[in-house]
Symmetry: D2
Subunit: 148 residues, 4 copies
């Protein structure tokens, strides 16, 4: 179902993604980092910081969404040529379990990279020790735009 793609991302594209990610201040606020990138995929990991919670101490849906949306966006960007970036058109999230654990890992994936739009999905898992638990599933659309 995914795009056929090389296993490794070229160094230039990876540099573009890491630079873009580094300039997203929300990702810094959440303590998030890119843990893997390959063509059509991107994983982001973040702790559930004290300042990112809902009323019962679990990670806020806004945190879960932000990580999933961002992982999906960089998965889409990994297939874009230089001078192009992507913006989220729309994104839907189903929340499956409370975001509780040592950290959240969001894994974004390109389903179809078209000329005009890219369709993406993402899973967000809560990790505690060796245990991974799926907490959210996202499905959405990215649009390529010229880099400003």
């Amino acid at each position: 179902m995914t795009q056929k793609a090389a296993r490794h991302l070229d160094a230039q594209t990876e540099a573009r993604i890491r630079e873009s990610f580094a300039s997203q201040t929300l990702m810094a606020t959440f303590g998030a980092s890119v843990t893997s990138i390959s063509p059509g995929s991107c994983a982001i990991s973040a702790p559930i910081l004290p300042g990112a919670r809902q009323q019962h101490g679990a990670g806020h849906a806004g945190l879960t969404f932000a990580l999933g949306d961002t992982a999906a966006g960089y998965a889409a960007l990994s297939l874009m040529p230089e001078g192009r970036e992507v913006m989220t058109v729309e994104m839907k999230v189903n929340l499956l379990a409370p975001a509780l654990g040592e950290r959240l890992v969001a894994s974004g994936r390109v389903v179809k990279s078209g000329k005009r739009l890219t369709v993406v999905t993402a899973e967000v898992e809560a990790v505690t020790g060796e245990e991974w638990r799926l907490v959210a599933l996202l499905q959405g659309t990215m649009i390529p735009v010229d880099t400003v």
Copy 2:
């Protein structure tokens, strides 16, 4: 289309909402506050803080989503009896314009409050001076749960 509802929220329900909101640390991180509540509706306002941005300095989609989702959740909660609260089952957001401005105002609204599920929508607007610009539209589902 909305629920027929009294104009004013009883003091107890309003207190429950404000207390719940105050315990969402993500809302504090975003500098957000509840600006109005009535039965079936809730508005939340937040600045676009330096730490809540995407790579070009606009508000991150995660910020927009978090405000819209939270406004929709408290709109749903405003129709719940004591001892009940709500959780987001799923939420979809369409992003219409970059989140740029002095602040974002998210207005949540109950479309249907059923026994088992509540359907909600929210609009997020970017405000600059007298100008209000729609930046996102959300539609989703909340589920009532017993207060822990």
Copy 3:
């Protein structure tokens, strides 16, 4: 929130919409007809035919979706210049009540008509005598394409 728009659709655009609708065989199968069109809005009405039901005799979610999606699509098309039409990029539906009644009326509306994408919503109501009941709410994205 809607686009500022003239009250009446010009005759040419209305003719284009009615011609396109007439060539959608699924709409004929469902016995559907366009009941009103204006710039940025379109309403479609259909009976709940014996051949369009789910296992308990209510209208199938596929019927409700098809009417809502089509009304939203023609709402979008009503704002397009000649030589352009629209396709659905994505659409989300929340089902609020069983589709039971004499007929369903789907009302589509443009929220934002941009150069590259149009964001739409639709409501589907079940009508029995004088009673109108909201059965579904849709939110989605249309993309303009050149007419073939």
Copy 4:
């Protein structure tokens, strides 16, 4: 990510699904049939009948949605005890390519079957000879209800 599940469905559950499917008149109108069922999965196949098309002769989005939603619903039902069935709460579809081919095959899958809600996905593929092409991706929520 899927539920751990036995490979084969017990005969009683399979009979319940086939009986329910047979009473969905829309599925008969579309010439659809259940081609496989196992615990947590269901596939439905249908031709793109002359009466189920959009204005350019491709399968209507309402057809694609109906097949995907129904496959997802029966995937959910396959994990329900006797006396329970499911209804669609909400469903989102991303359309990836025109529904053109000899037939459409919708494959539904349970992501999480909870006590109160079941989260599902579905893929719809267009099949021509040996070629399978992904045309739509769905993600949604089903709710268990007592059989009437």
